[in-house]
């Protein structure tokens, strides 16, 4: 085992001319982050010790949050520094090539798909919008909009308790169905409005409460690829939704700008089989 053995960790590719990487801290401590340019594309890389990142070493580390979390943050931090590039395509965590010559080969060999991926995100950045729903507020809204809702308050005492119970059950069920419909419609509407102000849009499964630390469930977990020139418009759309849906119990959270992680869904290198 030579602990000298090193490989090239690739954070992503950018249009040439990316700068500001000089003092960025990479995934492996002090190793400087640099670019490797070939075929008109710049790969953002830093050296990593194989002892730590090699195929046999990495499996267990992934399960160790104390190893993983800071490196995931470092991966993103480096790419954030490169957001000033004309175009930036982030690579998945732990994309590692044997060395600089292989990085150059890779850039040359996949010049075309890389160019396509770069063109797709050129001049754009990713924004995240999440919506959370306070059911108690939505229920008021739905009740107010449902005629039977008013009757529900007065009509309890009439028949026997059994009948009243059944009636109540039925009303509860109807209310739940109305709630589901209202939630789905509102969520879809919000996503469509945001997507209309973006170049591309996609949704991911809502994060569980464990991950958000919030009482209200997440109902929308959207990612939007927005032209930098259109960011004001996009922010305006989000503002208007927040206003429009506040009284229905929706709150919104915005994150970004991100490298276009959600819009780099390309796999290269499988044709050789």
């Amino acid at each position: 085992m030579t602990d000298e053995a090193r490989a090239c960790y690739v954070y992503g590719v950018a249009a040439p001319g990316v700068d500001g990487l000089g003092d960025a801290a990479g995934v492996a401590g002090d190793e400087p982050v640099r670019t490797v340019v070939a075929a008109g594309v710049a790969a953002i890389v830093s050296d990593v010790p194989l002892e730590e990142f090699g195929p046999s070493a990495i499996g267990d580390r992934l399960e160790d949050p104390t190893w993983l979390a800071p490196r995931v943050r470092a991966h993103d931090r480096v790419l954030q520094r490169a957001l000033n590039a004309e175009a930036l395509v982030p690579f998945r965590f732990c994309t590692i090539l044997p060395g600089e010559p292989e990085v150059r080969d890779f850039l040359a060999r996949y010049r075309e798909p890389l160019g396509t991926a770069l063109a797709r995100v050129a001049g754009k950045r990713e924004w995240g919008i999440k919506a959370f729903l306070d059911d108690r507020m939505l229920v008021d809204h739905v009740r107010a909009a449902t005629p039977e809702g008013e009757a529900a308050d007065g009509g309890g005492a009439g028949g026997g308790t059994g009948t009243a119970y059944l009636l109540q059950k039925r009303r509860d069920r109807a209310l739940l169905a109305a709630m589901d419909a209202a939630r789905d419609a509102a969520t879809r509407y919000c996503h469509e409005r945001l997507a209309a102000a973006a170049a591309e849009a996609t949704t991911s499964p809502p994060q569980p409460g464990d991950a958000t630390g919030r009482d209200q469930p997440m109902v929308l977990n959207g990612a939007y690829l927005v032209a930098i020139a259109g960011e004001r418009e996009f922010a305006g759309a989000a503002d208007r939704l927040a206003d429009e849906f506040a009284d229905r119990g929706f709150t919104f959270e915005r994150t970004g700008p991100w490298p276009a992680y959600h819009f780099a869904d390309v796999t290269l290198g499988q044709e050789g089989r």
Binding site: A7, V10, G12, V13, F53, G54, P55, I58, L62, E63, P65, T66, L68, A69, P70, V72, R73, D76, P90, F91, R92, F93, C94, T95, I96, L97, P98, F106, G128, S204, Q207, P208, D210, A211, T212, G213, E231, A235, A238, D239, A242, A246, T251, F252, E253, R254, T255, G256, P257, W258, Y261, H262, A264, D265, V266, T267, L268, G269, Q270, G272
Partner: protein
């Protein structure tokens, strides 16, 4: 017609929606799950996507729990000059959180998870 719209400036996070630092869950979702992939015959350490996603799902919960509890090891920035005070603060905070959590758990038997993942598979080669 145009009211002032704020864009990427984080200066005055306004009323209508929150803008915070990205959560660890946001980061893991993106960095581990998204992004361009180079297949295994080129890349030397391509991660098995399926495996990693499952692991990460488990991890998100535990990692953010840890963050919630103040065990923010990944934020160990080198500005921890006054370590003693910090530790003291942290202990106090931890104690408060623990009490809070205990109160919240209340009657439910929230034992520390029966995650007996079962047979220890030995896949040594």
């Amino acid at each position: 017609m145009s009211d002032p719209i704020r864009v990427p400036d984080h200066a005055a996070a306004p009323a209508r929606y929150r803008e915070g630092p990205a959560s660890l869950a946001d980061l893991l979702d993106r960095v581990l799950d998204k992004g361009l992939v180079i297949a295994g015959d080129i890349s030397i350490a391509l991660l098995d996507v399926e495996v990693i996603t499952i692991k990460v799902r488990l991890l998100i919960a535990s990692a953010d729990k840890a963050e919630e509890l103040g065990i923010d090891w990944w934020r160990n920035d080198p500005h921890l000059s006054s370590e003693a005070r910090e530790t003291q603060d942290r202990n106090r905070e931890l104690q408060r959180r623990v009490e809070e959590l205990e109160a919240r758990l209340g009657g439910s038997d929230g034992g520390p998870a029966e995650e007996q993942t079962g047979e220890a598979e030995d896949n040594s080669g």
